[in-house]
């Protein structure tokens, strides 16, 4: 190299280069550290009361929407697994999804997309609950200006975690019990073995007891729709019934039933049956006296990915097209006596089309 430097004049080169490098260092001030302006990162969050509320709201979201725009758990997904695989309900002739058809024909395999989606959505919700429970618990108590809010928020998340784990253990038996957000992406560290049914139930019961102890009996105004202690007691009762733990179930149920309506009932939640059966499903009476806990939907409310496909079983007033799921056959409706108030509300062959003002009669040969 010396030869070349000599040839050119080493100092010239060196000094030119230094001058050049000096200029470069002036412009080279772009930092590589990321500071996203349009995205919140975890280290910035879980600091305030508003953060805690938003973290828990995100847990509820998993009940009525799917991140990929698929049917939400309480929008058809769970119904597909429990009812299409039963004698009640079947895929419609125009439904060509092989996974959905396999549910009805009881030929599903573990890779069935609908089963996978149910599994995925439940754990998606459990993960959101885990994060909220840990995040809200870790938030300084001084950050909360509303008394009792911190405990209530944790209670809400625990209620939903229990609900989802309860669904899972009933559908799949022993399942992985996941209580915290993964700390990293290492797949070995992420692996969790299945827990026994008993351990899963123990966690469900613990979560529901915590929820029942911290949740209020009711909400007003902009909080209506959140989990209540009545809902926690009722769900706990259902868990005990499932476990055939009759005394414990009775204890819980007596807390739910309104005092005076049943022997030994101590509840003061004001629960009762609707006088009109149809009101249990009507929009005007939502979050009413008969509802312990409802997943919330609003028509064109703006939420993305939140579509309730159960009522969309009627996709149109076009008699040539079919609902996405249909009753298995007419024997389902025949289970109900004509005098049964539930029959007329549940099964119908005509519907009023508000857009045209006409009543459409579904006399399609394909309708059972």
């Amino acid at each position: 190299m010396a030869l070349f430097f000599k040839l050119l004049g080493m100092r010239t080169l060196l000094i030119n280069y230094l001058a050049f490098a000096g200029i470069v260092s002036i412009v080279a001030c772009n930092k590589l550290a990321e500071k996203p302006a349009g995205t919140i990162v975890a280290s910035q969050f879980y600091k305030t009361q508003a953060d805690a509320v938003a973290a828990v709201n995100a847990v509820y979201t998993t009940l009525n929407s799917d991140p990929a725009g698929d049917f939400p758990i309480y929008g058809r997904e769970l119904n597909l697994m429990t009812d299409n695989a039963s004698d009640n309900q079947n895929f419609s002739p125009s439904n060509t999804n092989p996974d959905v058809r396999a549910m009805s024909t009881i030929t599903y395999v573990s890779s069935n997309g609908r089963i996978l989606k149910n599994w995925q959505q439940h754990y998606y919700g459990i993960n959101r609950a885990d994060i909220a429970i840990d995040g809200v618990t870790a938030t300084a108590a001084t950050a909360f200006t509303t008394t009792g809010l911190q405990a209530r928020l944790v209670g809400e998340a625990k209620f939903i975690r229990a609900l989802l784990n309860f669904n899972l253990v009933r559908l799949f038996g022993p399942v992985p019990l996941v209580l915290h957000n993964p700390k990293g992406v290492d797949i070995t560290a992420l692996s969790v073995a299945r827990s026994s049914r008993d351990s899963v139930y123990a966690q469900i019961i613990a979560d529901l007891n915590d929820a029942a102890a911290t949740l209020p009996g009711s909400y007003s105004g902009a909080d209506v729709g959140r989990a209540t202690s009545g809902a926690a007691h009722a769900l706990l009762a259902k868990v005990y019934v499932t476990r055939r733990d009759w005394p414990a179930a009775q204890t819980e149920l007596l807390k739910v039933l309104t005092a005076g309506t049943f022997a030994g009932a101590t509840g003061n939640y004001g629960y009762a049956l609707f006088a009109n059966y149809k009101d249990a499903f009507a929009k005007a009476t939502k979050n009413g006296v008969e509802h312990l806990f409802s997943v919330q939907y609003v028509t064109s409310g703006g939420e993305t990915g939140a579509t309730q496909y159960l009522s969309q079983s009627f996709t149109s007033f076009n008699t040539g097209t079919y609902p996405i799921d249909i009753p298995s056959d007419s024997s389902v409706s025949q289970l109900f006596a004509d005098t049964d108030a539930r029959k007329a509300v549940t099964f119908y062959t005509t519907q009023y089309n508000a857009a045209t003002g006409q009543t459409v009669v579904f006399n399609n040969p394909y309708t059972p």
Partner: protein, 1034 residues
């Protein structure tokens, strides 16, 4: 003392230049200018060589010879000076002149192209010294009419596979240089336009407000501005681009002014386009009969009596009604010129292509200003500026990200033929019992606005300082700004807008990328036999984008459409986003050549990318290449005279890919929504797990090549073999679902690509009649080696209600089709013998017979297997060029072999239903009365499985371009004072040979999604064009 003064002078000059720009000129001492004149001619014939470049050695002074070969310098230089004279196809000569008299400079026709200068990363190299695989794009390919220049690469460079994703005007293409390295992220090559790094990011032209296929960001750049294109393929050539180089580099140089007079030129063409083909669909009577058969299979009464069937006739041909012949036109005007100090080019272009589907169009207005000027003898400034405004009216589609699939075109094809298209009074018939809304798909196409408007500014400037003849310091700065506005309006009278009483969405993206590059190039020569080219540099690039989408529904009327969404009674949640990313790089390269015979190039680049994890921002990418011009060895010259050039090349190196979106390594939280008390509330939750170790995806590439020229390079061959292994893939690794996350972005797994490619150029006939040919051929084999621990395969997300037709599996190419083999239809005999049947559906005579593997007794998803992939066995291109007197004729044939497509459109069309039209193949369905039918019997909406029938061979050979031109003799052209006047007619895509049954053997519904290549579902149909054009130069 002398040295000291010199260094002061140089550094002062350079710093001043940087700080004050033009003021740098004051550092130059005033000298009185003199004229140096001469002429450049062919040594043998004495013909002038217009455009030959004459440089005064040791300065930045250069001029080009005018049409008579004459040149003239006005300069402060004094004789003796040494001219460096170069001209394409001739040996570059150094000629010393000692007087101011007119000098005759004669060049010798080069019998080897070794002296050519090749554009490489951050500079140029003599072709003789190149150690990497670098291929140029021929003039014929570049002169084809095209909306975007990526189309011009198709069939013109070996190892570059271009697939037009759809035929929508301004639509996107998938470009792969030597196969795809990445599984989850971009496999697009890097584009370097006039030294400025341009990422082809189609996200910048898509805010999410519109629907359907995307806008090709490259279509915003005028392809006729391009002077030359070089493609860097192996690591020795691309590693200088380090992090961006893994997918190959396409270096584009735009037209410059030439020295020696001003030139005004116009070029333009006008043509018409039409559909290449239509597919077979059932007519009304055939469809009615199908419906009856479905009724029979369902055990209900037939819908049509025989008399009614007979009366149905042909019915409506929705397909034909949706297609038109459409015009395409392009006009451009340019003024260019230069003198010994400056060169300039000013060009304007207007391009307008209507699509063959109604209400689709691509329109572009663009302007370019290229300028360069020498300031004194040691400084040179260059500027390249381009601005365009493109408007694309797109075919309306569904938002296809895993939710729905299809678009208005596939809807039209599936429209039932028994329904009339129009009423007796000429209005559109909206009484269609087979669709859920009172609308008409033809009317939908005409009345929906689905539009993207893209403004693009691409400008860069550079200052070069040459303190010594062999030392260049260069500082450049540039900016690429993309401003996109998108408009969507679905009137209440359309199927999409009916339920919501009209829907409007507007979106915008504003993206800016700026780049600063600082390089030093030192080219010392020792003893006239040791040639060095040393490059060092630092670059920094910042990319920012901001986007927003706002939507509303429930419009009182259609008067304001998307222009004022506040008329919508129901606003939807607006969204906005912002990203910021930085790449800082240090680069260095040393090329050494001994007598232009033994060459070695070593390069290294260190890149730091903000988008990667905090622990692994930086990556180092080294490469080395050697080459030996064996043909220049004396012993070889004694051996044979037939071989004029023989060069052997070897290279190895690493390149990287950091093509992940910003913030991918962070624990990002996203907003979600829920309702309490009937009111919308916001929730916040994580969407990804933090991965601070996220690092570079690295591709290691080995290349061996040979360049051979025989008989005075009348035949020249370049052949390469290569092996690439990409490790630490940036892969969305599927996680156990119980983590609450579907996947995490990690560096796991590896993919290999290996291949052979060659190109052959022959000069078949010389003389008054000339014939030149060029053939390119390339074969690449892609294979997944690993997907990380515990993962041997996964299925990419399929649209809801469908099963993934592709699998990503170790040992197979990325995106292999996965489904059942079939063996005709089930016969009574089969059933009696108890052949395996598909589980989950009752199967009977006349149904598809699926093949069970490995002796299975029934057919389940375990019997799905590899049905081939969309990756071709080989691709090729053949270009021929003839000329006689003023006539020129050229054609380009291009194609690929062995690639498959999943013809999903046909799969859906062969599904018998009571509400959609079907393929004409169903006319030959099995039935009791047609026991020899080849497609399964009619049942009501059977499950469409992925079977071998739909995975179709999409090999093709296409006459991509055929052009016949005539240049008027000078005496005629001169009559209107023109120096050139050429008229031509050209046919594009006129002939396509293929056995593929869909519209076009080039199809990618999912565009550039690597794992879902080759899915054809109702994409914009293929077009062919016939056009006539004129080139005129004054």
């Amino acid at each position: 003392m002398y040295l000291r003064q010199r260094y002061k002078f140089y550094t002062t000059g350079f710093v001043l230049l940087l700080l004050l720009g033009w003021v740098g000129t004051v550092a130059q001492g005033p000298t009185k200018n003199v004229a140096l004149v001469g002429r450049v001619s062919d040594e043998k014939t004495g013909d002038p060589l217009p455009g030959a470049v004459i440089q005064i050695k040791g300065t930045t002074h250069e001029v080009a010879a005018d049409n008579n070969g004459e040149f003239r310098f006005i300069t402060g230089q004094r004789v003796p000076v040494t001219y460096l004279v170069s001209y394409v196809g001739y040996k570059t000569r150094e000629i010393e002149v000692t007087s101011y008299e007119h000098a005759e400079l004669r060049l010798q026709g080069a019998n080897s192209q070794l002296n050519d200068v090749v554009v490489v990363g951050y500079g140029t190299q003599r072709r003789s010294d190149v150690t990497g695989a670098v291929a140029g794009v021929g003039k014929n390919a570049l002169s084809q009419p095209a909306v975007a220049f990526d189309n011009l690469l198709q069939g013109s460079v070996s190892g570059v596979a271009v697939t037009q994703n759809n035929s929508q005007p301004g639509g996107t293409a998938a470009i792969r240089v030597r196969g795809g390295n990445s599984i989850s992220f971009s496999n697009d090559p890097l584009y370097v336009i006039d030294g400025f790094i341009v990422y082809n990011n189609n996200n910048f032209t898509n805010s999410g407000a519109t629907t359907g296929a995307g806008v090709n960001a490259l279509a915003t750049i005028n392809p006729s501005d391009i002077e030359s294109v070089e493609v860097l393929k192996d690591a020795s050539a691309t590693a200088i681009y380090g992090s961006h180089g893994a997918n190959g580099v396409v270096i584009i140089t735009t037209r410059r002014g030439r020295k020696g007079g001003d030139e005004l030129s116009y070029s333009g063409y006008y043509g018409t386009q039409s559909a290449v083909k239509k597919i077979g669909l059932l007519n009304a009577q055939q469809w009615g009969s199908l419906v009856n058969d479905i009724n029979v299979s369902d055990g209900v009464a037939k819908t049509y009596t025989d008399a009614q069937l007979g009366a149905l006739g042909k019915g409506s041909d929705w397909q034909s009604a949706g297609i038109r012949t459409a015009p395409v036109q392009n006009h451009e005007l340019s003024v260019s010129g230069g003198d010994e100090k400056s060169k300039y080019l000013l060009a304007g272009n207007t391009f307008d292509q209507d699509g063959i589907l109604y209400n689709t169009e691509f329109k572009r207005y663009s302007g370019r200003f290229n300028y360069e000027r020498s300031l004194g003898e040691k400084f040179r400034v260059t500027l390249s500026a381009f601005d365009s405004r493109s408007t694309e009216n797109e075919l309306t589609g569904s938002a296809y990200n895993s939710v729905q699939i299809g678009n208005l075109w596939s809807t039209l094809l599936q429209s039932v033929p028994v329904v009339a298209m129009k009423n007796a009074d000429g209005t559109y018939n909206t009484t269609n019992p087979y669709i859920t809304t009172p609308t008409n798909p033809l009317k939908d196409i005409l009345s929906i606005t689905n539009q993207s408007i893209v403004n693009r500014l691409l400008a860069n400037g550079a200052v070069e300082y040459k303190p010594l003849a062999n030392l260049t310091l260069k500082v450049s700065g540039g900016v690429d700004q993309i401003g996109t506005k998108q408009n969507l309006y679905l009137p209440a009278t359309t199927s999409g807008g009916y339920a919501v009483s009209g829907y409007a969405s507007v979106g915008s993206v504003s993206a800016t990328s700026w780049l600063n590059e600082n390089t030093v190039t030192w080219t010392p020569v020792l003893a006239n036999s040791h040639f060095f080219n040393v490059l060092a540099g630092y670059t920094t690039q910042v990319t920012d984008d901001q986007s927003a989408v706002a939507s509303a529904q429930k419009f009182p009327n259609d008067l304001t459409t998307y222009n004022n969404i506040s008329y919508g009674a129901t606003p939807l949640l607006p969204v906005s986003a912002a990203h910021h990313s930085v790449i800082n790089s240090y680069l260095g390269r040393v090329s050494y050549s001994y007598k232009h015979i033994y060459n070695v190039t070593a390069s290294v680049r260190a890149d730091g990318a903000s988008v990667l994890g905090a622990n692994n921002k930086w990556g180092v990418f080294p490469a080395i290449g050697v080459s030996w011009n064996a043909g220049q060895e004396e012993f070889f010259k004694n051996l044979t005279t037939a071989v004029t050039n023989l060069k052997l090349r070897l290279s190895a190196g690493r390149t990287g890919n950091s093509g992940v979106p910003a913030y991918s390594s962070l624990a990002a939280l996203a907003p979600t929504n829920y309702y309490f008390g009937g009111q919308l509330v916001t929730g916040v939750a994580p969407t990804q797990i933090a991965n601070p170790n996220l690092k570079w995806e690295t591709t290691t590439q080995y290349d061996a090549g040979v360049d051979l020229g025989i008989w005075g390079n009348r035949v020249s061959l370049t052949a390469d073999v290569y092996y690439k292994k990409t490790t630490d893939l940036l892969l969305n690794v599927p996680l156990p679902q119980y983590t609450g996350y579907q996947s995490a972005l990690e560096n796991v797994g590896s993919v290999e690509n290996k291949g052979i490619e060659w190109s052959l150029n022959t000069d078949n006939i010389r003389g008054r009649f000339t014939w030149k040919s060029s053939v390119v051929w390339a074969a690449n084999r892609n294979k997944i080696l690993s997907l990380g621990p515990g993962v041997s395969y996964y299925y990419p997300t399929a649209p809801i209600g469908q099963q993934s037709p592709v699998i990503v599996q170790v040992g197979l190419p990325v995106g292999t089709f996965w489904g059942y083999s079939t063996r005709g239809l089930l016969t009574a005999d089969d059933i009696a013998k108890g052949v395996p049947l598909l589980t989950g559906v009752p199967q009977q005579v006349g149904d598809q017979r699926y093949v069970a593997l490995n002796g299975h007794t029934s057919v389940t998803t375990a019997d799905k297997h590899d049905l081939g992939s969309s990756q071709p066995s080989f691709t090729f291109g053949v270009t021929n060029n003839f000329s006689y007197e003023g006539f020129d004729l050229s054609f380009i044939i291009q194609g690929s072999y062995g690639n498959k497509l999943f013809n999903q459109l046909e799969q859906q069309l062969e599904k018998p239903t009571l509400a959609l039209n079907a393929s004409s193949a169903l006319a030959n369905r099995w039935s009791a009365s047609n026991p020899n039918g080849t497609v399964p019997r009619a049942t009501n909406s059977p499950v469409p499985q992925v079977i071998d029938r739909w995975i179709q061979d999409a090999s093709y050979a296409r006459l991509k371009n055929l052009t016949l031109g005539y240049s008027l003799p000078k005496k005629w052209a001169g009559g209107i004072r023109a120096t050139q006047l050429r008229v031509y007619v050209s046919a594009q895509n006129w002939v396509t040979l293929t056995s593929y049954k869909g519209f076009n053997p080039e199809a990618n519904y999912f565009e550039n999604d690597n794992t879902k290549q080759g899915i054809d579902y109702g994409i914009y149909p293929a077009t062919k064009t016939l056009l006539a054009g004129l080139n005129l130069t004054f």
